[in-house]
């Protein structure tokens, strides 16, 4: 039976365009540091507001990646 261990890292991506982009930014950056990214759970979404307008969309993700300590 296949058994594997995943580690979880929590990241917040931000984008001036959308929550989807914010999530994409976070995953893109994470992919540079971690191998085998599989699932990301969205834990929180919010917006930054300045002068009555949204200046950034933020998406908080719990990303799991395969642990290679074996």
């Amino acid at each position: 039976m296949a058994e594997s261990v995943y580690q979880v890292v929590e990241l917040i991506g931000s984008s001036s365009d959308s929550w989807e982009d914010a999530a994409r930014n976070a995953v893109r950056e994470a992919a540079k540091a971690y191998k085998d990214l599989r699932v990301a759970e969205v834990t929180e979404m919010d917006v930054l507001i300045e002068n009555g307008d949204i200046i950034a969309f933020r998406t908080k993700l719990r990303l799991s990646y395969k642990s290679t300590s074996d």
Binding site: E10, I12, S14, D17, N25, A30, K35, I55
Partner: protein, 316 residues
């Protein structure tokens, strides 16, 4: 020998500061009729180009040929911002800047800021700057979603955006082709009506930026006759970006103490000794531990977000 060096420096500059546009100016009038004949180039809407002052040319992008075509066929000198990869090769190191490309020195993270600053400086100097709103060449022929950097730059510098529609360049030099192939025309270059930042006065920055970008993309689509795609043409971030696209890493730190407040302070202290840019802290969990002696210890877990840097995050 020294005269030769002198000439070289006059034409292409030095390693530290390659000259921008030195070859483009004398070459343009010579190359213009050559291009017209070899590629059957038709230029429309020249009246839409301001004769003086800054403007951002925003063309659709389907071919490597797009930049040289615009540099040669536009009545005024145009500069494009180029990725610094070109500057690593000896062959293109001097040639590209001399033809009007401004190299963006990039140390990875600062690149987009540097590109934005450089473009803003050029516009404040009253130059024509070419920026592809799609960020990179379209591989499927569709007109992809525009990046907001173009509009951000226009609103930042008060320079108008001139949408540009290019057709036929994808036949002259398709993606993957090393050199432009003659007699594959016709090629058309259409300059659209300028979009002035002063016409986008209402709403916040983001709304104005989006509105201006939407109008620019609609105008390009009408001129290039491309079908539009709601997606970006590449997942790579473009050289010129609109706003904040930072990624933060959230880390958890726990500590125990005689009170939750005390434990929180210790946990935050531990986090801060690890990171020098802790931003937002949040209490994630409060619990208590009962020691065998019956004494109670209060446990507080806090989260702290810090700038996420892939290059320094170890691979576990």
């Amino acid at each position: 020998m020294s005269k030769l060096t002198d000439l070289r420096i006059r034409l292409v500059g030095t390693d530290a500061s390659p000259r921008v546009g030195s070859l483009a100016r004398p070459a343009r009038p010579v190359l213009r009729p050559v291009l017209r004949t070899m590629f059957d180039v038709d230029v429309r809407g020249i009246e839409n180009l301001p004769t003086t002052g800054p403007a951002i040319l925003s063309p659709n992008h389907r071919s490597f040929f797009d930049s040289p075509l615009l540099m040669i066929m536009t009545p005024r000198p145009v500069v494009f911002l180029g990725k610094a990869e070109y500057m690593d090769s000896r062959k293109t190191k001097y040639l590209f800047p001399a033809c009007g490309m401004v190299p963006i020195k990039r140390d990875a993270r600062r690149a987009s800021m540097a590109a934005l600053d450089t473009a803003a400086d050029l516009l404040n100097d009253g130059r024509l700057v070419g920026i592809y709103p799609e960020g990179t060449r379209s591989r499927d022929g569709l007109l992809h979603r525009g990046h907001s950097g173009v509009a951000h730059l226009a609103l930042m510098t008060d320079a108008p955006i001139i949408p540009v529609g290019l057709t036929g360049t994808e036949r002259v030099q398709p993606i993957g082709s090393a050199i432009p192939r003659p007699f594959q025309g016709p090629v058309t270059v259409t300059f659209g009506r300028p979009l002035n930042p002063t016409d986008y006065r209402f709403g916040g920055n983001r709304k104005r930026r989006q509105q201006m970008l939407d109008d620019a993309m609609a105008s390009i689509a009408a001129m290039s006759s491309q079908t539009r795609s709601p997606d970006f043409s590449s997942s790579e971030p473009p050289l010129i970006r609109g706003g904040s696209e930072t990624v933060y890493k959230v880390t958890r730190h726990g500590s125990s103490g005689p009170t939750w407040k005390h434990a929180a302070a210790t946990a935050v202290g531990a986090a801060m000794s690890q990171f020098d840019d802790g931003r937002v802290g949040e209490v994630a969990d409060l619990s208590l531990r009962i020691l065998p002696s019956g004494e109670i210890r209060f446990v507080t877990e806090v989260t702290v977000s810090t700038r996420f840097l892939p290059e320094t995050s170890s691979i576990h």
